[in-house]
Amino acid sequence: MLMRATCGIIILVMGLILFTIFRKGLPVLNWQILTSVPKGGYYFGGEGGILNAILGSLYLAIGSTILSLIISLPSALFLNIHLKKHQKLQNTIRLFIDVLWGIPSVVYGAFAFTIMIYFGFRASLMAGIVTVTLFISPIMIRGMDEALKTIPNTLLEAAYSLGSTKYETAYRVFLRQAMPGIATAILLSFGRAIGDAASVLFTTGFTDNIPKSLTQPAATLPLSIFFQLSSPIPEVQQRAYAAAIVLTVIILLISITGRAISFRYSKNDIK
């Protein structure tokens, strides 16, 4: 009975969170907010919107997801193909990456900022992308690793017996076989990248303009929500709720896409 209640509490809380965000944000959400950048006096209740933050966040998340993919995919494949025979090393690396998983993003942010000051870099989209990449790579590698781990050993042996090199086995056999799992891992990391505020707080900066190059600072949705909410003016606060809806919808879409992918491809698995 008590157990059913706790289960209910969790469903209720999720409902409550989504309900609160949508009830507060929907009345304020309109086309203008989504499609314009802040104009003069925006932070005192003036005209404008959060397009700068929406685009900034998308650039940041897409950039860091791609960069992280370049790092993570080879690492995960290496872990599962080249290190297949070295169980101990494999497990140690897995453990190490798992431990990294939990390092808070604010530490990455602070670290990156120190490096930037040392080299005299200013806050920019590029710096943000690099920081977020560092932060999401362990998540992506472990996600891919979980998918690659399930591939039976016989498939590896079959590929070798046909004369494939490790490279061909990795990218033509393993990658294809684990595709749904890898796609889910990428989506999950994308969600992390777009939702995190603490790592971009010092590295990406904040601006009212849409960034035109990697060296310019960029606004991000989480920070836009955070800054607008700390304003004492009600109109500005309400726009934070609208921005929260945008962010929540993006996250929901990612979650639904991830489910759809794993549902669609789970039938084709070799068991």
């Binding site: 939990g102 808070p104 362990p138 989480p222 962010l247």
Partner: protein, 299 residues
């Protein structure tokens, strides 16, 4: 033909090198971070003794006083409370979902847990300000005859608890699923009730796993920044009750970074708080993960 074969081999070895480079990059980054953070905090440690830094509570960067105690206690209290709130809920739900619930409910709950895990912390912060803050200041606090703004230790703990529930729950469910079903079925066939199965088989078998799941939850809560920053009040004093504001370490870093350049040693002090966070989370994570690995291997 010969040329193609050679080509493939070259490609293969190039790729192996690339893979080793990327993997070492990922593995070396945290070590570099640790070294640089340590190096940066050394400046502060030369000026003040570590005991003075960790066990005094005067935080006046302008005067050169850096007492981390309020922040450390703030972090610990908010973390412990949130795990105390989340723990029982997670345990009971995990029991229910793995032992009692039908396939249908599990199928509904899984996406809900995933969505909760995916919601960005800033959205949790907004929700906390809209729902939990007024709930504490208008409904709960008057019951205890306390005047408060609602931005308190208990508010932060509740928001944090909601954030770590999906995280702990996922690990718990995974751990309970690794317990062989024959074991529970054998106990049931001896006439045990479901609850007895939970008490004598599940909990006993998965005990290290349960502790580790909470350990990981603790490190998650300890490092959470934005949501806590938004609802916990941020007053640099040692909290004496549930309705006092707290100022955890991550919030300290996030709030003051960028403006610390003008004051000497401030930069080093913030780096030291990042180091404290980093190190304590590494330790917690390490022991939790090791014991989960052991558990999975033994089953």
């Amino acid at each position: 033909m010969e040329f193609r074969r050679l080509n493939r081999k070259i490609l293969d070895s190039y790729n192996t090198i690339l893979m080793i480079v990327t993997l070492s990059f990922v593995l070396l980054t945290p070590i570099v971070m640790l070294v640089i953070l340590g190096f940066k905090s050394a400046t502060l440690l030369q000026e003040h003794s570590i005991f003075r830094l960790l066990f005094t509570s005067a935080w006046e960067p302008g005067k050169g006083n850096f007492g981390f105690l309020p922040f450390i206690l703030g972090s610990i209290s908010i973390t412990v409370l949130s795990v105390l709130i989340a723990g029982p809920i997670c345990l009971l739900t995990a029991f229910y979902l793995t032992q009692y619930a039908g396939v249908k409910l599990v199928r509904i709950m899984q996406p809900i847990i995933d969505i909760l895990a995916g919601i960005p912390s800033v959205v949790y912060g907004v929700w906390g300000i809209l729902v939990i803050v007024p709930f504490i200041s208008d409904i709960i606090a008057p019951q205890f005859h306390v005047q408060t703004t609602g931005y308190t230790l208990i508010t932060g703990s509740i928001v944090l608890a909601v954030m770590i529930i999906p995280f702990i729950l996922n690990i718990l469910i995974e751990i309970f699923r690794t317990i062989p079903i024959e074991l529970t079925e054998a106990t049931l066939s001896l006439g045990a009730t479901r609850w007895e199965v939970i008490k004598h088989v599940l909990v006993r078998k998965a005990k290290p796993g349960i502790i580790s799941a909470f350990g990981l939850g603790i490190s998650r809560a300890f490092g959470e920044t934005i949501a806590v920053l938004m609802v916990a009040g941020n007053v640099a004093k040692i909290p004496h009750g549930l309705f006092d504001p707290v100022y955890p370490l991550p919030a300290l870093i996030a709030n003051n970074y960028g403006e610390m350049m003008s004051i000497p040693l401030y930069d080093s002090a913030l780096m030291m708080s990042a180091l404290i966070l980093f190190a304590s989370i590494l330790i917690f994570n390490f022991f939790s993960r090791v014991s989960i690995y052991r558990l999975e291997r033994n089953l």
